[in-house]
Symmetry: C2
Subunit: 393 residues, 2 copies
């Protein structure tokens, strides 16, 4: 029954899973303690919030601690890549309790891929000793633009056969719960955002892997754009890419030069043998001078594109992730070099360009958070209700 503003606000504060006292909650939600008491009672009765043991000694009477009943349900969070899927279970607070990577191929089309994912999810649930009825929500990040209102993938270049396929409906045949679908980089942005960059209003998450994409956070909210195509920066034209022909048919695309495939292509032109983007990381780690240089050049190209993005939205943080980012410094150095050289002083003085901290789980963490928003009817990403308008003086 938590449908009032106060209950929502309480959940919005408690959604991170940490426990709090009534006084803390009253302060955080800007209500009186009696109001918080009343609503907490309902939430506890409904099994949504748990009353924990008393706090350790302060001076006065110890207070009760309240926290989200994170174990009351399970969220299935999936990150889909071109050749694999990471299927994870999280508790209602977003803590990952189990995860497993399976091999799939998105070009096989939606049914077989989703079937494999759903099977894996069932297996994980069984292994965790959880009945399927415990599933409270399902979410998936996919490497395609997603239309915000409908959750449908639209014109996905990497995923022929998925165009406007109703993933939500398909999943609901198995798990009849809220289903969230969003772009893979968007969910990474959320994952990194809620774990490390809660306070930042504008943030950019860049994924450098087989392709290149961005997750865009503005005013603490994900940006989807009119067609779900926001953040599709792989086909920005950069000078470094020259006349190289991209798979999209254009020339000079960022992706054709700076993605895993693009770097491999650069190296191949120099006679260095690489099959795939994955090899590039191995080569750099092995100390290959050519590979290191190519990655740094790729970083510069990305930096060139980012300089423009910075001029447009002036973010305070840019997080670099994706498989290629795991080479670490060379890529980051290339990006920083151009970003700080080409950006206006005002926009770059406070700007931080950092590597993603959780390459493996950022995606599913973000998915879980977005699903949680739906399960609890919460808005936005922030830890607090929303910094909108303060109510009291």
């Amino acid at each position: 029954m938590p449908d009032t503003t106060t209950s929502s606000d309480l959940l919005a504060v408690l959604r991170d899973g940490r426990s709090r006292t009534k006084t803390e909650l009253a302060e955080a939600t800007d209500r009186s303690r009696s109001t918080v008491t009343a609503h907490l009672a309902k939430l506890v009765e409904g099994g949504i919030v748990t009353q924990l043991e008393r706090t350790a000694a302060t001076k006065g009477r110890p207070s009760m601690l309240y926290a989200l009943a994170a174990d009351a349900g399970v969220i299935v969070a999936v990150e889909l890549g071109a050749r694999h899927a990471l299927v994870a279970l999280t508790d209602l607070a977003g803590g990952v309790t189990a995860h497993h990577r399976i091999v799939v191929d998105v070009v096989d089309g939606p049914e077989p891929v989703l079937a494999a994912i759903l099977t894996e999810a069932r297996d994980l649930l069984a292994a965790a000793g959880r009945p399927e009825s415990d599933v409270a929500g399902f979410g998936i990040g996919i490497p395609a633009p997603v239309e915000l209102a409908t959750g449908l993938p639209v014109s996905p270049p990497l995923m022929p056969g998925w165009d406007r396929f109703d993933i939500r409906a398909y999943v609901r045949l198995v798990f009849d719960v809220p289903v969230m679908v969003d772009n893979d980089v968007n969910v990474m942005a959320v994952g990194e955002g809620i774990t490390h960059w809660v306070a930042e209003r504008e943030m950019l998450m860049i994924k450098v892997a087989t392709g290149i994409g961005a997750g865009v956070v503005v005013n603490q909210r994900l940006v989807h754009g009119a067609d779900g195509a926001a953040g599709e920066i792989g086909h920005i034209r950069v000078s470094a890419a020259g006349d190289r022909v991209c798979r999209c048919g254009q020339t000079g695309c960022l992706e054709s030069f700076a993605s895993g495939i693009g770097i491999a292509r650069t190296l191949a032109e120099q006679g260095v043998d690489t099959d795939d983007g994955r090899d590039v990381v191995a080569l750099v780690r092995a100390g290959s001078i050519e590979a290191t240089r190519a990655v740094r050049e790729a970083g510069r190209a990305i930096g060139e594109a980012l300089a423009t993005c910075i001029s447009l939205i002036n973010p305070s943080v840019i997080v670099i992730g994706g498989s290629i980012a795991s080479v670490g410094e060379p890529l980051l150095a290339g990006i920083r070099e151009v970003v700080y050289q080409r950006s206006q002083p005002l926009a770059s003085k406070q700007l931080r360009v950092v590597a993603a901290t959780d390459l493996e789980l950022a995606g599913v963490t973000g998915v879980s958070r977005l699903v949680q928003s739906q399960v609890f009817h919460l808005a936005g990403l922030g830890a607090r209700p929303t910094p909108a308008t303060q109510r009291r003086s």
Copy 2:
């Protein structure tokens, strides 16, 4: 006393100045008629809302119409350019009732310029037969980045001497009312947005004049960025600008090639005499082939930069304004040519690139709307409360 949510919601609906019946208001604010009645009574009593005559015949009893008491106060709205200022008076609904353009020079520094503006505002008030005590709010759009929280201009390249000058405080010495300061292109974006593009979630306003800047609207809200530098796209690097040195010290900046000054420079290199950006418009209108071509080239360069912006935020509308935009087709054609060629099909299929419709008053209209938000304690730009969460089933 209108400080409750319901009163705010009512004002948020009525802010456009149109009149509505109680039933319409109840529907728009999602409250019962009795609630609306109660709050309207207070608002009418407070002189904030006016009760108008009855509606013309429907079938049943005619209803009363209610509208914002637009004449209860005056908003002073100013648009500051490098060499001039447009000082306007609007009613509380944002309707421009008087305006006058005065000559100033921003390089003289803030005090003399603001003094001239304030004097002009006083003159306009006197001419309108309005006492100064009628002024309910003051706003100004300035050609500089503005820090959102403080309203201070930061590191303005065009306005040396204005850095972190407290415009709000200075104005309040004369008019002790809410004072709003924002970037000139931001306010133009708001002005165009509320008059023609209310429904669009993502929108870009591009001003092409002496310099080049953008106003960025995402999720129906203005984007200021971490340092107020969002939309400062004049110094994006574009290939067309080649190695041309920009006043910012970098090379290849969009502004060095595609702004009024940049176009003049291009023409000068071809031996065509122009003193200033203003001349460019005259030359095109006079049928100069060189000037027309140069403007179209400028459009292409802008299109190149915009293609990147489109990839990042996927707007549904891009509005082109500024003095150079008044040449009309050549500029727009150049922009469209590159935008539609370089953008991903998904992002550009629904995208409209249009000319600003109100070159003269869009700025002050936007200023007035932003001031109105402060005067009535409203959030956002939208006509409706915010499409956030629907309250009933």
